[in-house]
Assembly symmetry: C2
C-alpha cells in the first residue's frame, strides 16, 4: 500500500531500517515537526514507544537502556530547544561510550536562518561528541534517495553500536503536511520495491569489527605477563554491556594475577567471584603514599607493589587506586578498543588497541600455566578481608577507642542495600558520594548484580532517568541509590515510573545539599562553603513521592537523632526488603549528616590503613 | 593584598571586570572545578549571587533577567554535563538575541581527552549559537595575561550586549588548588597594579555602535513612507529590553500609519496607546484569504491592504498576520540591526540594517506632516474594536445562535488576568497556546505591562525559570501564565521562588497534555494523536505547589463541570486579584478542556471574520 505522502514514506523507511538493525524501542517526546517519525514509530508493531515529556530526561532514559543492553534506543524530538535538551546525555554517552541515536526533526533548509517559528541551527548541534552525523536530505520519493536513507540508518546504528560505541545524530527535516494525510501524486506508484519497502532484514547488514592485535604482538604481551610474578588486572567501569567476567577470570587463572574490579566493571559481582581472586575494597587501603619504590621490591616492607598492570575499561572510580598505580612505577598496559587515552596520571607505559574481553580470552589461552605468586594474591585477599571486616564493624578493636562509637554512615547504606539485593538485580548508583561509597564499602559478592552509573562525565543530572531506562530494559528488580541533589536535578525523570511502566526501589541519601564538598578543601572556607557549595535546599521529598506514586518511608540516620548505628541499619534493611518484595515503586529516604559521615569514613580509612599497612603508612 | 594563589587572582580579575562592565548579579550552580569563580563572586560586595542547583534552570533564569533588563547576568558552572545543560537557553538566547554569558569551568588542557574525571570536550560547546567564544588560557600571574583576561571579559560583555546581542561563552580552565588557600610564591609581589587590580571602572570601556543608514538612504525610505497612504508599522517580539514605544508612536503620528503590535513587542501595552493607533486583535481577523489583489486596491471590497509595511523586531507571533502580509504583495521593509532575515514567507522586498527605535525617531523627524489616510486607520481601529467586543461577549448576536452558548475558554483566562494586572506589571507567558491566546484575546491597554516570552525558538522548556529570572530583575509584580506541559518541564525552576527570593502569581492552564495539537491536522489520527501528541499525563499540581511553598487555588473551567462561563471568569478574577494582593507566591490552576477551547476559538474566529469582512471572507 503506497504511503499517503512522501513524509510518511520517508519516516516509515527510516523506522523500518532501525527495527531491521535490531532496535526494539524508541523514546519519543511530543512535538509537531517530528510527527512523521512519531506516527511511523507508533504504527510499527514490534517497536515499543516510550513517551517522555521532558527531552533531557528522555535522552538519559535512552542512555540507561543502552547501558543495560549495549543496544541503541533511538530518540525522537521536535525542532529547536528540544534537540538542545539532548546535549547532556549525548556528552555522557560520548565519554562513556554508550550507544545513543538522536533523531532531531527540523524545518526544511529553506526555512532555516530566516526567523521561522521554533527554528534554530541544528546542524552539528553536538559538535565532536557524536561519532556519526548526517543532516538528512528532505524526504524525496525516489529510489536512490530511499536507498541512501536506508544505508545511512544502517551505518548510524552500526557506528553507535560498533567498536567505538557512542552517540550518533541524524537531523531530519520535514515540510508540511506532517501528518499521514493523502497528497495526490506525492508518492509515485512505480517505486522500486526494495527502495520503497526495503529488504527482509536490514537493507545493509553491518558486521562490526573490533580491533585485534596481531599474533606476535599478542605473544610479546603474553611473555611479559608470563614472566611477571606481581601483576594486576584492573577492571575499570566498562563500556556497556560490560566486561566479560569469564574471560577476565580465565586470564587471572592463567597468570595468577588478582583482579581489582571497579563496582561498574561487570566483574566485581557475580558467580565467577567464587573462583577468581576479585579484589573490591582497594579504595580503603591504597593511596599514593602506600606505593614504595618499585626498585626495592624485595625489601621486607610488608606491602608489595605490582610490576605489571593490565588496565581494562575506563578510568577506575577510585582516585586512591589511580594515584597508587601511578606511584608504583609499574608497566601499565592500557587496553582501549577505541585507541584513546583513559589514564589521567599519564603514567601508563603501553596502549593496546584491542577489545578487552577478547584480548583476555586470547591471552589466557596463550599464557596458560603461569600461576604467578601465591603470596602476592594473598596480600590483596587479606587486605580486602581486613578492610571489609573493619567496615562491617567486626574488628572494632582496630578503631581507636578514644573516639565515640562508629555511627551509621552513608557508606553503610550502600552496604545494607547491597547485602539485601535480590538475585539477579540491576543497581544504579548516582554520582558524587553514592558511587564512591559503593566502590569503597561494597566488596565482591556472588549475587548477579548489574551495577551501573554515569561515570563518563560523572554528572549528577539525568540519574533517575538513566536508572529507569536501565530498569525498563531488564526483568531484574531495579534499585537506585541516589543523593538529594541528583534526585532534585532529575525529578522529571520520575514521571517514567508511570508513563514508561517501570518499577524501582529508590534509596535516597538525603544530607540536604552537596555532601561531597565536605571531602574537599573548600570545606574550611565559610560562609562561601555553606552558601555556594553545600547549598542546603531543605526540599521535602515525601510530597515528591506522592506526586509520582511512590510509597514512602523515612529513616533518620543522623547521629544526634539515633540510638545506635545498629537500629538504623536494621530499619533500612527491613524497609528495603519490604519495598523489594512489594509491588510498585518505593522511595526510602535515609536522612544523613554529611559531616559526620565524612568523619566516620576518615576514621575507618585510618583504621584500615593501620590494619593493612601497619603504622608506617600513617 | 596579593591573592593567595593564581586561581584566586585570575578569578577575582575576571569577576571584577564583569562588575566594572555593569554586571550586578551572577547565577552560580554548585561544583568543585568552578570554585575560584564562585568564591570570587561570593566575596564581591556589590554582586548578587543567585544559587541554582539545576544548570538548565539556572541558564533560563539568567535569560529571563536579561530579557527584562537588556543586561547580561553571567552564569557560573562546573565542568562536564553541567555546561551542556546550558545549551537550550543558549539556543533561545541566540535566536531571541538576549544577552547571556556562560562561564564554564574546565579541567586544564593537559587533562582533557584523557579519561580524567568529570571532563568532556567543552571547546566551542555551543557551536555557532554564540556571538563570542574564548577558551581562556590557564590562570597565569603575569601582567600581559591579566591584561588579556580583562580585555577579553570586556569584549565578551560588550558583544553580548552589543548591536547584535546574544550568548557568549568563556571556557575557564583551572588546576588545583581551587580554593583560596595560600600557595607560596604562586603570585609575584611585583605585578603591575593595573594588571593586578584593574582600573577604576572597566579595564576596557566598550561603547556599542548600532548600525545607522546614511542620510540619503534614510531620505529614500522617508520619501517612500511619505508618499504612501496605506502603510503599516508591524512591531514584532522585540530584542530586549524592547522597542521604544515613544519612537514608534512618533513615526506613526508622522506617517499616519497604524501600528500592529505583537504582545511581546513592548508597544502593545502602555500609556502611549492613548495617543497612538495601536492595533492588537489582528490575529482574529487577518488571514491569507483576506488579502485581496494589491492591484485593485480601489475596488469597493470592504477591506483594503497595505501598500508599504515597516517591520520592526522579530517575526510576529501571529501566523495569520505573517501569511496575510505575504499575500498583500506590499513593499515590506524588514528592519534588522543584525542584518539577518526574520521573515519566513520570503515576501519582504527590503532589508534595512538599522536599530529600529532610532530609525523610527530619525524617520519621524524627516517625514513629519504625512498624516496618511484617516479611513485607512479607521479600518483597523474598527476591526480591532469589533473583534474585542465579540471576544468580550458584547456582541453575542454575531455568534451564530444555533450553537450552544459560548463557554469560558483558555483565551478568556488571558483576558481576565490581563484586565486585573497591577500597574506596572511584568507578565511572562509560556509558549504553545498561552502566548497565542495573549496575542489574539488581549488588546492594547494603557497599563504599563512588560510582556515577555521565549519566542526565539518557542520551546516549552525553561519557562518557569525565565519568568522568575525576569521577576528577580524588577520591582514589578510578576505574573506567569503557563501550560501544564511547560510547568512540568521546568518544575525545578520553582525552587528559585525560595532560593532566589522571587514572588510570583502563577496561572496554570491545565488541559492535561498538549492542547496545541488540537489545532493541528494530526488531531484526526487516532490512536496516535492521544498517545503520542496530546499525551495526557494526569499530573496533580497541588502537591507540586506544596513542595515549593505556593498557595494553591483550583478552578474547574471544563464545560461539563461549569454552570456558566460567567462564574468561571469571576472566580478566576477573584482568585487572581486575591493572589496579586497577598504576599508570597500563588498557583491558580485553571482546569480546562483543550478540545472545547479549540472549538470556541474557531467559533469566535468565524464570528469576527464575518463581522469585519462580511461573508465573502468565509
Amino acid at each position: 500500500m503506497t504511503a499517503p505522502n512522501r513524509n510518511t514514506l520517508w519516516a516509515r523507511a527510516l523506522i523500518d531500517e532501525l527495527v531491521a538493525a535490531g532496535v526494539d524501542a524508541v523514546v519519543a517526546s511530543p512535538g509537531s515537526r517530528s510527527t512523521p517519525l512519531t506516527v511511523a514509530a507508533a504504527r510499527t508493531d514490534d517497536l515499543r514507544v516510550f513517551s517522555q515529556l521532558d527531552e533531557r530526561s528522555a535522552a538519559y532514559f535512552a542512555l540507561g537502556r543502552a547501558r543495560r543492553t549495549g543496544k541503541v534506543t533511538p530518540l525522537i524530538c521536535t525542532s529547536g530547544t528540544a534537540a538542545a535538551n539532548y546535549h547532556p546525555a549525548v556528552m555522557e554517552a560520548s565519554e562513556a561510550r554508550v550507544p545513543l541515536l538522536a533523531l532531531t526533526a527540523d524545518r526544511p533548509p529553506e526555512l532555516r536562518d530566516s526567523g521561522a517559528n521554533q527554528t534554530a541551527d541544528q546542524e552539528k548541534l553536538y559538535g565532536d561528541a557524536v561519532r556519526f552525523y548526517k543532516d538528512l536530505p528532505e524526504p524525496a520519493p525516489n529510489d536512490r534517495a530511499l536507498r541512501s536513507l536506508r544505508t545511512t540508518v544502517a551505518r548510524a546504528v552500526g557506528t553507535a553500536e560498533g567498536a567505538d560505541p557512542g552517540p550518533v545524530h541524524l537531523n531530519v527535516p520535514f515540510k508540511k503536511p506532517l501528518e499521514p494525510t493523502r497528497v495526490l501524486d506525492d508518492v509515485p506508484a512505480d517505486l522500486d520495491p526494495v527502495a520503497e519497502r526495503g529488504r527482509d532484514g536490514p537493507y545493509v547488514d553491518v558486521t562490526p569489527g573490533s580491533p585485534e592485535p596481531g599474533d606476535d604482538a599478542l605473544r610479546r604481551l603474553g611473555n611479559e605477563l608470563m614472566t611477571t610474578d606481581r601483576g594486576l588486572i584492573v577492571a575499570g567501569p566498562a563500556d556497556p554491556p560490560g566486561l566479560d567476567a569469564e574471560a577476565v577470570t580465565a586470564l587471572s587463572h592463567a597468570t595468577g594475577f588478582p583482579i581489582l574490579a571497579d563496582p561498574l566493571s561487570g566483574v566485581r559481582f557475580g558467580g565467577h567471584t567464587r573462583v577468581a581472586p576479585v579484589i573490591g575494597a582497594y579504595d580503603a587501603y591504597l593511596s599514593a603514599e602506600v606505593a614504595g619504590e618499585a626498585g626495592d621490591a624485595d625489601a621486607s616492607d610488608s606491602w608489595n607493589d605490582p610490576e605489571v598492570v593490565l588496565r581494562l575499561g575506563a578510568s577506575p572510580t577510585s582516585k586512591r587506586l589511580r594515584k597508587y598505580l601511578a606511584e608504583t612505577g609499574a608497566d601499565q598496559y592500557q587496553v582501549d578498543p577505541a585507541g584513546r587515552w583513559r589514564e589521567a596520571e599519564f603514567a601508563a607505559t603501553d596502549l593496546v588497541v584491542a577489545e578487552p574481553s577478547r584480548l583476555c580470552a586470547r591471552l589466557s589461552r596463550l599464557v596458560a600455566g603461569g600461576d604467578g605468586d601465591a603470596d602476592w594474591r594473598a596480600q590483596w585477599e587479606d587486605a580486602d578481608r581486613v578492610a571489609q571486616e573493619i567496615h562491617g564493624r567486626e574488628r572494632d578493636g582496630d578503631i581507636p577507642a578514644d573516639d565515640e562509637p562508629v555511627e551509621f554512615h552513608e557508606g553503610d547504606a550502600l552496604r545494607v542495600v547491597a547485602d539485601a539485593l535480590p538475585d539477579p538485580a540491576t543497581l544504579f548508583v548516582s554520582n558524587s558520594m553514592p558511587v564512591r561509597d559503593l566502590d569503597r564499602f561494597v566488596g565482591p559478592t556472588t549475587t548477579s548484580v548489574t551495577a551501573l552509573g554515569n561515570r563518563g562525565v560523572s554528572g549528577i543530572d539525568g540519574i533517575v532517568s538513566s536508572a529507569l531506562g536501565a530498569g525498563s530494559a531488564t526483568t531484574d528488580d531495579l534499585t537506585l541509590v541516589v543523593g538529594d541533589l541528583a534526585l532534585y536535578h532529575d525529578t522529571n525523570g520520575l514521571l517514567a515510573l508511570d508513563r514508561c511502566d517501570v518499577d524501582a526501589t529508590v534509596v535516597l541519601i538525603n544530607n540536604d545539599g552537596g555532601g561531597i564538598f565536605h571531602e574537599l578543601p573548600i570545606e574550611s572556607f565559610e560562609p562561601e562553603f555553606t552558601e555556594s557549595f553545600k547549598t542546603p535546599h531543605g526540599i521535602e521529598f515525601e510530597p515528591m513521592a506522592d506526586l509520582h506514586g511512590l510509597a514512602y518511608t523515612r529513616i533518620d540516620a543522623r547521629p544526634d537523632s539515633v540510638e545506635s548505628a545498629g537500629n538504623v541499619a536494621d530499619d533500612l534493611a527491613d524497609a528495603y526488603t519490604g519495598a523489594r518484595d512489594a509491588d510498585g515503586s518505593h522511595l526510602i529516604e535515609v536522612r544523613t549528616d554529611a559531616e559526620s559521615s565524612h568523619r566516620t569514613r576518615k576514621r575507618l580509612e585510618a583504621a584500615v590503613d593501620r590494619a593493612v599497612h601497619g603504622d608506617e603508612a600513617e
